[in-house]
Each structure stands twice: as structure tokens, then as C-alpha cells.
Amino acid sequence: MDAADSGSVAGDPGFVTSTDGVADAAGAADGAAAAALRIEQLRKSYGAEEVLRGIDLAVASHEVVCLIGASGSGKSTLLRCVNLLERIDSGSIWLDGQLITGPGVDQNLVRRHIGIVFQSFNLFPHMTVERNVTLAPMKVLGLSRAAASARAAELLDRFGLGEKRSDYPDRLSGGQQQRVAIVRALAMRPRLMLLDEVTSALDPELVADVLDVIRELARSGMTMLIATHEMGFARDIASRVCFLSGGQIIEQAPPEQLFSQPSDERTRRFLRRIVDAGRM
């Protein structure tokens, strides 16, 4: 397995163009160079409903952080905010020490470095698998068709999708589609991967394939923030697990600690319900 492939060590600086250097100054000031991602007091409302109520979270390089919590607890919204797909109301997000939520930030430039995979795959149905994967490297990074294809072929082969490259997405199983979606994000060699309940829309027998892919990413050192309902998976892949409820991080700890001795009553109640439902 090739580390460069996974994009885990992208590390190229200066991905945020700031019109006035404010972002750099703010990032440099706190000196948290190790944190790939840092979120402070993030708030987000949809109308009157406050979905995120002051999130503080840091993800170190090569760390895998899992977000757990009931539906509606704000996991997905948090990921979408990090990718700048949602406009935040207040708070700050830093990527590699650079503020990405301030003025003068080129969103498209930021998103090159943050891959996100959605619950519903969201592959482009009018393009072949290969074209799905090569589109952004060609149009965003300016790679030649040959270079983008080579990059795509390498990734597709690595995740057992080499034979599917000329197929259209609707010919693939859900598991294959989701793996293509992961490859599509990886083809940009992101600094950080966000996975938003990537197995929730899959038939149970297809879940394992996708989780194996994510495990391999974790082993290769990819920094990841993962929203998931798969507690067993979170337990063995996460460096740290965060329990979200009502738009706040109630508790965060290494998985063995959070799953066996949760300190907060709400975490205990949530985990009990999961166990009762036979999901753990």
C-alpha cells in the first residue's frame, strides 16, 4: 500500500487564499500545528432550530475520530459545516492551523483538501466510474486526462474496483457505489476525510466491504472524522469517540473508555438503547 496514494501526507501549505493574511495570523497564533482540524464554538441553526450549539473539537493528524449519537444530534451538520457546505452562524474552523471560516477564504480551495463521502453516495449518474473519479482532478487540479486516469486506476485497483471503471453507477451495487464515492474523494488527495454515515444506506451484507476500505484508510494514516451508527466499527477503528446530543459534544474519550465506562448519563442511555436494539 502506497502512503502517497492515500493522500494522508498531503501537507502542502497555503491552501487557503486569504485576501489579507488574517487567516494565517490567526492560525499561527495558537501554535497547534499538530491539529489537522480544529473547531471552536461552532454554532449553526436552521431557522429557529439550533442544530449545533457550540461545538469544540480537535482532530490531530492521522487521528480517526468517530461521532456517534442519535439521528438529529448534529453529526451530519457538523461534517457539512467542516466542508463549508453549510454556512456557519458563529465559531471558527481551522484546517492545518489556517482559519477556513473567515472572510477572504476561497471555499473551492479549502474543499480540495477535505474529502467528504455522503450517506447516499451521490455519484454522478451520467458518468462512468472512471469519469466520476477523474472529473475533479482534471477540472479542479488541472491534471491531464492521462494523469487523472492513472491516479484513478491505481485507486480503483487498490479498492477492488478496477473492473468497474467503465460502468455507470446504476450498474453497481450500493457497496460498490460507496467505495467509488470514497475513491472519488481520495483522488483529490485530501488532507482530511469526512465520512457521513457511509454505511447507513447499504444492505447489511454490503456494509463490511465499505468498512474494510475505511479500515485500510485508517491504517494508511488518513486523518478522518466519521459520523457513524456502527458502534462495533467505531470501537475498533477510532482513536477517539465523541458522543453528540442536542448539538453538543457531551463526552469524548478513547473508544474502550467511552463504550465501557461512559461518564455522562445521556451517553449511558444512548448506548443502552443501542445495545437493546442489538446493534452492538
Binding site: 457546505l85 474543499r111 474529502g115 451521490n122 462512468t128 472529473l135 460502468d167 455507470y168 446504476d170 472519488r184
Partner: protein, 308 residues
Amino acid sequence: MAEAPGLPDLSARRSRLLGTGDRRGLILSTTSTVMVLAVLAAIFLLAPGSRAVRTTFFNPTDMWRALVGDPKAGYYSVGEALWLNIRMFVIAEILILILALVVAVVRQSTGPVLLPLRVVGTIYVDVARGVPLILVIFAIGFGVPALQLRGVSSESAAVYGVAALVFSYSAYVSEVYRAGLVSVHRSQVAAARSLGLSGSASMRYVILPQAIRTIIPPLLNDFISLQKDTALVGLLGSIEANKAAELYSDTTFNYSSYTVAAILFLLLTIPLARFTDHLIARDQARRLAGARLWTQRTPAPSPVTRAS
């Protein structure tokens, strides 16, 4: 009424008109179709005025003379005049596709800066759809020359006719585009933007191609209508097919020339309709079978496998 053969098949994923199975249904539908047509023909032929109608509208000699024309006798060839309809149609269609897309994208934009353009776009669509095409043709066809502006007031009637068609149809077509843009799920935008594609790149590579696939049938529907409406430009004096037919009937007091024009228009529109069906079927087949028509990297295209 007669059922078109194979109609129930259309809902199936891979329909083939007159295709698989049900021979009995095919026989039944054919029989009923023939019977209905026979009854209609009988009514036409047995009507009290049938003979007069046939001489006036379906006289083979007049039809032939109208088709080929005779300048010495004072009338034009309807067949030749149709060439003007075709040219007007093709030019108008290209301009409409472009203008309508611009209007649709502007109206779908969300940026606050573009608000004035959105307002203009909305007013344009309201006005252009609300005013009857025939009035637009008169307004442009007689109004612009009357302005006596250098460069724009001395064009031929066909040019003003095309301008009127473009003005009117772009409004309709922009709404078709807009429906197509809306039909592409928001998650596709999110997926494109999340990869770092800009708003316009997302539109160009992700949203628009999907939208256009959806709107090809309604779009072609509008163009079939446009082909026929080129006949209205004859009101400005252009000798297009309908005008030529009119001149023939003015000279000979026989309306068979109109029948010729009608048949010629039919010959134009039917291929367009079949072409639309073909495009839809091809797109569906390609997506379902994973056949490769666009990318050339593998030497042999995989055979179109039937997904039953």
C-alpha cells in the same frame, strides 16, 4: 379506441416497440387499429360533401403543381419554399437553445448581485409568454423596419420572423431548462462542490448534463411546435411553405396546396419525434448496460447486455 402496439411495454425498463412476447396482443391491437381507420375513411368517403372536399383539398394534379411551382403562372413551389422554413427553424433553434439557457441559469442563480438580472429575466419570460406569437411577429416584423435604424431596419422579413420566434420561444424553452435544472437533486450539487468544483464547473459538468437528459422530450416537443410556427413568418411576406401554398390557392382557387404544405411539415416533424425517442432509448441503454459510447480507452465496446 385502438391501442398502439406495445404501448404497455413503455413502462418496462428496456422497452422494444413490438418487441418481446405477447403476439396475441399485437394481433388484437393491429386489428382494432385497422378497423378504426376503416370506419374513419368510410365516414369521410360517404359524407355528402366528400367529392367536393376531395377535389378542393386532395386533387393530385393541383398537389403536384403546387409542390413544384410555376413562376410563369404566378405561384411558387411549396417544396422550395419549405427550404426557407427549414433554415429559419435551424437558426432560430440554435439561438433559442443559447438564449433560453442563459435566461434559465440567470433565473436559477442565487447571488444577491444578480438580483437585477433575475428581475429582468422574470419580466422577460412573463411578457414573452404572455403576448401571442402572431403579435410579436407583427411588432418586430413591422415595427423594427419602421424605426429606420441603420443596420437593423433593412433586413429581410425572414430575419425579423426569426427574431420574433427566438423572442417568444426562448421564454418557453427557458422554463423547460429551469424544470430540468430543478430536477437534478441538490445532493449532486453538494457532491460536485465538495470536490472543489466551482459553481460554474458544477453547472457545466454535473448539473446541466443531467438536466438536459431529463428535458430532451419536452425540448423537442417545443421544437416540433417551432417548426410549424415558422409558417407564421409568411404573414410578413416571406415566401415560406405556407405562404407559397396561399399564393397557389389565390391563383387557382384550389386548396390542395395547403395539403401539400401540411404533408411537408409532417415529413419534417415526424423524423424529429423519432429522433427524440432514439436519443432517449440510447441514453437509457448506455446507462443500464454500461456500454461505452463516449470513452474510447478500451478497444472493444462491451456488448450491450440485456438486463432482464
